[in-house]
């Protein structure tokens, strides 16, 4: 089957879920640990999903998500509700993922074999799902081959459902550049995956 002409002709991303209840945030700002726990529980799965897609070593995902929420909690008293909470959360998460990747790259510097590193991705445990593990492995390998700065935008838009306007606020990158990055990521995935399963 011929691939679609436009790489952007993908199904519309599911919209990012509504921001968390502002009273929860207010309570967490004042030190209400239970309110913060509710926020963590509400966002943990999404953060983990994003981290799995972003990280060179998916085993770091839980640590990175933990670091993200710790940093968010430290900065929470300075948070103002003029920006969406999840945008802010994913900004910090993106920073933590990039830091973890940089550290991982440094640790691997002595004996790096890029191809081997790229393949060092694990699908998350999903014992109770009908997840196609083999396909998932292929997808993650292909995704790992997308440069980090393109991969992040692709995940934010097509997986996490942020609009380009929101992503511009999250990353500071202009919208016109964002669309190009998404296109490049899509092109890369298509090229890597086209031969795996024919439609």
């Amino acid at each position: 089957m011929r691939p679609p002409r436009s790489a952007l002709a993908l199904s519309a991303p599911e919209p990012a879920r509504p921001s968390v209840d502002s009273t929860l945030i207010s309570r967490a700002k004042l030190g209400d640990i239970q309110a913060f726990e509710t926020i963590v529980a509400q966002y943990y799965a999404r953060c983990l999903r994003f981290a799995h897609g972003m990280l060179r070593d998916s085993a770091d995902a839980d640590d990175v998500v933990q670091e993200t929420f710790v940093r968010l909690y430290r900065a929470l008293p300075r948070y103002e509700d003029r920006q969406r909470f999840d945008s802010w959360l994913f900004r910090i998460l993106g920073n933590c993922c990039r830091t973890a990747n940089a550290l991982h790259k440094r640790r691997e510097a002595q004996d790096v074999d890029d191809d081997r590193v790229l393949y060092n991705v694990a699908a998350p445990d999903r014992p109770d799902s009908a997840f196609d593990a083999e396909w998932g492995e292929e997808v993650r390998r292909a995704l790992a081959g997308v440069p980090e700065y393109n991969r992040e935008i692709f995940l934010l838009h097509y997986v996490e459902g942020f609009s380009y306007e929101e992503i511009e606020r999250i990353t500071g990158v202009r919208q016109s550049a964002l669309k190009m990055r998404v296109k490049r990521a899509s092109d890369h995935l298509r090229a890597r995956l086209a031969g795996v399963y024919r439609g």
Partner: protein, 210 residues
């Protein structure tokens, strides 16, 4: 197998998205660990990473800032009650926003936020750091941000070679350096000292009363 799952006609990227969008199971223990770690850090009076704050945090007052000021007032009341304290840098009332200060002497506090004398021991003072030079990326590392090269990035003034960031610092002596495109760089406008533990020269700022 993938064809049966995803249906014919779906292009491979669409199929990949379907896979990537699936949410992982959440380990409840992981959530609990996060909360414990966060509470412990807060109790240690850890300052937030400047990079985690919104880029336009220092702006003229908007309605949201009233909430922030009220929240800070409540925090101070909670401090009086002996509850868990986070030693927050004060939100900036519109009237006392810092204007960029000359950086010949970065030890000069950049703001004169109103404070009662008995509150100054625990308050932080926004302090501006400026780097002048061509670079792709300038980060600030020091004893106030865990020496983390990712924590505090300077922002370039459009059309110039000046990079700056304002960081809340406790009173006293602080050692820092710029990481300019991965290179350790001291601040030529500031005093320096070679640390006795690792023998590396860093820059010094002494932050006093506002």
């Amino acid at each position: 197998m993938a064809n049966q799952r995803f249906g014919r006609g779906m292009n491979p990227v669409e199929r990949a998205l379907a896979s990537l969008r699936e949410l992982p199971d959440v380990d409840r223990e992981a959530v609990a660990r996060v909360v414990v770690a966060a509470a412990r850090v807060r109790a240690q009076d850890a300052e937030p990473n400047e990079d985690d704050l919104l880029p336009a945090a220092i702006e003229p007052a908007r309605s949201g800032r009233v909430v922030a000021v009220a929240a800070a007032a409540v925090i101070l009341l909670v401090i009086g009650g002996g509850a868990v304290v986070w030693r927050a840098s004060r939100p900036y009332p519109a009237a006392s926003l810092p204007s960029p200060v000359a950086t010949n002497s970065p030890s000069i506090p950049a703001i004169s936020a109103a404070s009662r004398p008995d509150a100054t021991e625990s308050m932080t003072i926004p302090t501006q750091f400026v780097y002048d030079g061509r670079a792709r990326r300038v980060a600030l590392v020091g004893d106030f941000n865990g020496w983390d090269e990712e924590a505090t990035l300077l922002v370039r003034e459009p059309g110039s070679s000046l990079w700056s960031v304002t960081v809340p610092l406790q009173r006293g002596r602080h050692v820092y350096a710029f990481i300019v495109d991965s290179t350790w760089t001291t601040d030529r406008r500031a005093p320096t000292s070679r640390d006795p533990d690792f023998g590396v020269e860093g820059s010094v700022v002494i932050v006093g009363r506002p």
